[in-house]
Symmetry: none
């Protein structure tokens, strides 16, 4: 994506007055609500403004175009999730592998479930222009944090490679998405947390075990 294109998606002005901050927040929440109540292809800037209780003109004072609005909402969410993963990774350093994986998986699920409405709403715009790029970036951020953490595991000799980490992360993403789209009752969420930990733990165990055994084979590639 060219630099111009990205710039075009940046917020237009940072609110300085208190009134403006309230407005921006209202627009943000309205976007989520419209996404959920009408769907992505019936989300119009007019509708968002209406729901936010402001005029369209006001919306366009803060976002140069519709894309930047969706972009902004998506970015905000991805940043929060990535930050949660990073924090968990930092906190779990030097612990045993099992414990590490548990903490991260639980942190991920918790971050996603804190605002299920937002999480679900955003699946609708994730495939839009720029969405995949944003998601990839957030994924990379998480993967790096995981990698750094795993290198400090107190009980493993073999380090899972980059690909395995991405596998695990994308499995987490996929499973969580599936639960959210099926309908995330508290009971289901609890089960997801539990099973995601199990899934990640067993995969990591398998990967590190296998890697140790087959170390010479892999490194020869």
């Amino acid at each position: 994506m060219p630099a111009d294109a990205l710039q075009a998606l940046e917020p237009r002005k940072t609110p300085v007055q208190a009134r403006a901050a309230v407005t921006v927040d209202a627009i943000f929440e309205a976007t989520i609500q419209v996404l959920l109540s009408h769907g992505a292809d019936r989300l119009t800037t007019t509708r968002v403004a209406e729901r936010a209780g402001v005029s369209v003109g006001t919306l366009y004072q803060y976002y140069p175009n519709k894309q930047s609005l969706l972009f902004g909402v998506l970015e905000d969410h991805l940043d929060k999730v990535a930050a949660a993963v990073e924090a968990a990774c930092k906190h779990a350093r030097h612990k045993p592998l099992c414990e590490m994986v548990r903490e991260v998986a639980e942190a991920f699920v918790d971050a996603k479930m804190e605002r299920t409405d937002i999480s679900m709403a955003l699946y609708q715009i994730a495939a839009d222009v720029g969405g995949p790029a944003l998601i990839k970036r957030a994924g990379q951020r998480s993967r790096k944090a995981l990698e750094a953490m795993l290198a400090t595991a107190s009980d493993t000799v073999a380090q899972p490679d980059r690909f395995a980490i991405e596998m695990m992360f994308s499995a987490m993403v996929g499973a969580t998405r599936s639960v959210l789209e099926t309908g995330a009752s508290p009971a289901t969420v609890r089960k997801l947390r539990e099973h995601l930990v199990l899934l990640c733990q067993s995969y990591m165990a398998a990967v590190t075990a296998r890697r140790t055994e087959t170390d010479w084979r892999e490194s020869a590639t």
Copy 2:
């Protein structure tokens, strides 16, 4: 969704003549191409028709509206993948758990990778109206096949529950999607196959083991 709505999305006529079949196919392929070259929100019926080498009018002879076109393309793909999973499940009956999981995971990846262009194109319309419902239906179909297969495992006492099967399936979906969106080189696809098998196997092993141990606790819930 009411019955009427679903009916409105069905193809208008079944092509019996050879010429019609060719036309429908051209439209089908054109849809994928436009999706990939222009993106979902710049896909117009005129553009698809143009790419397919027919007039808009002709397109509307085979699909009553735009939704039905996208719906049709998505459904076709999901059906193929579900069918591949079902076939693998049928073939692997009565084998050991490990082998079952391997065959299914590999079949899934192979089905998805047979036409990476289609797989990728469809992520763009998966979130549209009707998409999630279609995906859920296909997921259920696969889950049932998996469940039926797993019940015949030659080496396990405990049967993984419905939730665990959904977890595994959605992990497969998520991991495959991640690879496709990152750029699926043959080497990466090979690695995905391998790791997905490993991930599913270890998760199934963990689940069945745990279930056996904690059987009395779970069933008390």
Copy 3:
């Protein structure tokens, strides 16, 4: 102007069916009428379409955007005038200077006055983006024709230089514009024809006379 920009101003499609040709013509005339009745800054594509008796959508089938519509109308007029000047230049070759100038000046006035409504309407959009470039191009065309004609004058030794020709042409343009904007009654137009001939003749006479006399001084510069 970049090539893309120019392309964006080209008509979108050439009418093939008879019906379409009628439509394009109606849009053309409607543009002139709206320009005259509402002014350039109150000319909207909707209004033009309305006046033409078609829908906006139809307008946009033939012109990719508003600019191209105005551009098209302006270009058509300038082309006609330039063609008239060229024809007069060709016809007057090898005649005496006086006669040449008379024929061209009269041809210019006649071309401009054939559709005073169009001429007047276009002054309103001449300053818009692209307008000056178009006008310059048409001017160059006329100047070249004049230059070629003047070189064949049967009674002059000295050839008026490029600048003098441009002076004469722009004086013709300016005087005609002034008359049109003041209100071009048939009597006034007759007077304009007469006086423009006089003005051009006397200027050309002065220029060629002076040039002959001061030839050595000029060429020394």
Copy 4:
């Protein structure tokens, strides 16, 4: 135009304080700059205010609306040019025709070229609502001054009629515009001055000569 409409376009307050004068001047210059850098149809009041270093609100304290801003800038320029012509006319009274014409033509070119940026910028708004009226008024003013001056010519019996004077003036306007829009290098401007004098002189000579000869015919009309 009704009296009210004209009143609405007058500046809102006469700046008595020094600070106000500075502000008005900044707005004035900003208008020219925006006109040149963005074009008339991308001139917005916000943009002008920004360029002038004031807020929109402040701009509206001095001009009741956008029209009045453009109107004001155009009027100021036309007044200056008309004043220059008038001054030249006054100065050249009682001189020979040739000298009169020279002084006026040169004064006109000099006035136009003193701020080529302003002259060029204003061509963009000359066709807007009110522009033609303003221009006509300024033209009348110049024509009257010319007429009064020419009546005092020391060497001519026949007086050029009103129409001829308008012809000459509009030819001056047209030729100068052409040069400005082509790109007015100092050398070109010098040439314009010279040739414009020649053109006007020869036309006036022809007109007065002819008028004497054909006096009885013309007056019969």
